[in-house]
Each structure stands twice: as C-alpha cells, then as structure tokens.
Symmetry: C2
Subunit: 218 residues, 2 copies
C-alpha cells in the first residue's frame, strides 16, 4: 500500500497523541499538525478507507493494528536518523528532531536496515526515547528518580509522580517540563537537595521534589 508523507505525518501524530488518551479528537490532531479541523476530517476518511484507523464521525479516532504498525515504522526511521545525526554527524541533541522529520519519510527498507546495523542497533535516541526494532518492538526506558540518580546523570524529565497544583506550579515557574533535559551536578549530604543544570542555568531542588521527578537516561 502506498502511504504519502502527509499521511505518514498524520499517522505519527495520532500515534503520539494516543499515548495521552486512547482516542484522539479532531481539534487536538489539527492543533498538533498545525492545520485546520476540516483538513483533519478529510484525511481521517482517507485513512479509514485504507484501514489504517478506526473512525466514528464526531467521536474521534484511533489507529488500527495496521495503522499502529505503520506508525511504528515511521517512529523507527525518525529515531534512527536522530541517533545518526547526533552520534555520527555531531548535531546537538536539540537540533536533530527537525532534520529527522524530513529523513523519516524515506521508506526504503534496505536503507533503514543498513542504517540500523551501521549504528549498532541502538535502543534509544538522543532524547532517550526507545527506537522500535524492525518488528516494531521497543524497550521501555528505565525511569530513575532524580533523588537517587548518580552524580553527573543526564536525563530527560519523563514522569511526575505527584500532580498536585503546588508542585506543578513550582515546576512551571522554573520552566521544568516533561521533555526537559537536565544533568545532576551535586547532592547535598546535609538535606539531600540536588543541584541540577538545565541548559545554561543551574538550580536547586529539594529532596522532596526530586523524589517525584522520574528521569529517563540519555
């Protein structure tokens, strides 16, 4: 079956949104793809006709088994290229995504298998996200609480185990978000508070807070 780059982008976006909620809405997808809801509806009809998703008008959509398989192939290509760009071409980790967005649409099977082998079958991309293997399987990255991570640990904030308003505000005011990359610089022997480096700036978090921040290693 032929799947256009545009269709691929839709499938990938739905795949990612489904991590948040099993069924995806028209507006949510439109916003993710920087397009209009009407365009999404058009495309949903096309993808349903191709059996790539389940779609009930007015009630959202979700990937079919076939659609999910396709999305995983796209994610695989994207993350392999990200790994290549960072590891071989020495791009910075935050520059790789944009370029990989273009490279991911080249579907040639042999290319991807050879690239994978050349890179040494990496399990995680430069953002710490798992790279699906050729059959779509992937490792879940190990999550480490910032409070117990070793000094010099570098990771990405992946999960916050306390969703209280106060904690979230505390994080927001410090621009700490899911996906933020940080490095553990030191841990106080006195109170267990940690100093972390986030981009160019450094900040201190209490042990209590650090305990709720789960990182994936990168």
């Amino acid at each position: 079956m032929v799947i256009s780059p545009t269709e691929e982008n839709y499938l990938k976006a739905i795949y990612h949104l489904q991590a948040l909620s099993e069924v995806v809405s028209t507006t949510h997808l439109a916003q993710k793809l920087q397009t209009k809801p009407a365009s999404v509806t058009d495309m949903m009809k096309k993808l349903q006709a191709k059996n790539l998703l389940h779609y009930t008008p007015y009630h959202g959509f979700s990937l079919s088994a076939e659609g999910r398989k396709t999305a995983l192939h796209i994610v695989r290509r994207h993350r392999l290229w990200e790994y290549f760009l960072a590891e071989k071409l020495s791009f910075e980790w935050n520059e790789v995504h944009e370029v990989a967005e273009e490279l991911e649409h080249i579907g040639n099977k042999k290319l991807i298998e050879k690239l994978d082998a050349y890179l040494g079958f990496p399990q995680f991309d430069p953002h710490g996200d798992p790279i699906p293997d050729s059959r779509g399987r992937m490792q879940q990255p190990e999550l480490v609480p910032l409070s117990t991570a070793p000094i010099a640990f570098t990771g990405v904030l992946q999960l916050v185990t306390d969703q209280s308003k106060d904690l979230l505000e505390h994080l927001a005011s410090r621009k700490l978000r899911i996906g933020t990359r940080l490095e553990l610089r030191s841990r106080s022997a006195f109170d267990g508070s940690v100093d972390i480096k986030m981009g160019s700036k450094t900040l201190t978090l209490t042990r209590q807070l650090a305990n709720h921040l789960l990182l994936k290693q990168i």
Copy 2:
C-alpha cells in the same frame, strides 16, 4: 526562494541534459522525467517565472546562472548521499542511485555540510562522478584510456573517441555503453589486447579498440 522537490527534479534533469547539448527540448526532458511534454511546458513557465531558466517557447530552454547554481546543489546532495550509502552503509555501487534520489531533496544546509565533513570531503561518488563543493565547484575526473590503464584498474566507460558506426556496433553487441563499469583483468604481452570483467562476465578487446575507450576511475 522555495523550490519544490518536483522543481528540483526538473532542474537536475535539465542540468544533466545540458551536458549533451546546451539547449534542451521539451520532448527530451519529458522522456528523461517519464512525463508528458505538456507537463514540461507548464513547469518551464513556472521555472522561468522564478528566473531559474531561459525559455523561448518552441525553442527549448537552458538553466540560468541561478538555476545552474541550484542544480549543482542538488547534484552535490545526491552524490554525497551516494558516497555515504556505498562507503558507510556498504550498499553496492549500483544500488545507491535510487535511494539518493530521495535523500537529495532534503535541503537542510547544516545537514549537508556536516555530512560532507563526516565523509571527509570526498571528491568523487561511487560512479566516479565529481561531487560539487559547497560553492558548486568540482574536479574533473581524470580519463584513462583502457589501453594504458594498469592491471586491476576499475572504472566506468566515460568517453569513446571514435564514433564510427563499426566501432559503435562492436560495443553495442557486447553491451558496452557509457556508464558501464568494468575492471581490467589482464593485458596480453603478445598483441596488447585486454581482458576485462563486466559484471559477472569477461570479454576480450583489441588494443585498437581499448585505445578509444576512456575510463574514469572509481
């Protein structure tokens, strides 16, 4: 200026056809691009409007300075990827073209400059064709007559210095064409005739013929 992948394909095709004759015709280009003359005419108007080529209706077209510069960037990207595929991913030399056709349309400047550096600024691609540098300059490959090439020399037939019907028929019957890759296996001390390997088969050419076949090294 924004140039679509389709427009890029047109520019590249014109660039290559111009090596044969300075001005390119509608049918010739249509045939090269596996499309119809009417489609070519449409595109020529568009590319002329973008100042990428000179176009006189009914009298063919040629690249403008700007168009030639753009075409050279595309050729550069194509050949760098070919080199990457053969050298790093161990594709066979005859498999690289197809994949590079897709990769070449990713225009990200930083990507190409970093790829070039990673590959060690190669001068020639796996077919022996010169790779333009970032300013569009390239080395002309050295041409060696098959009659004087060293044993084990591998190259691609690039130029035939005698266009007589008899010679051309002789080549045709042996499927020896411009672009054919061959390897010199041995040279007779008796009469200077050479044994060459072409793909899986071997054949013998007289010294007289070998003298008219110019190869570029690969």
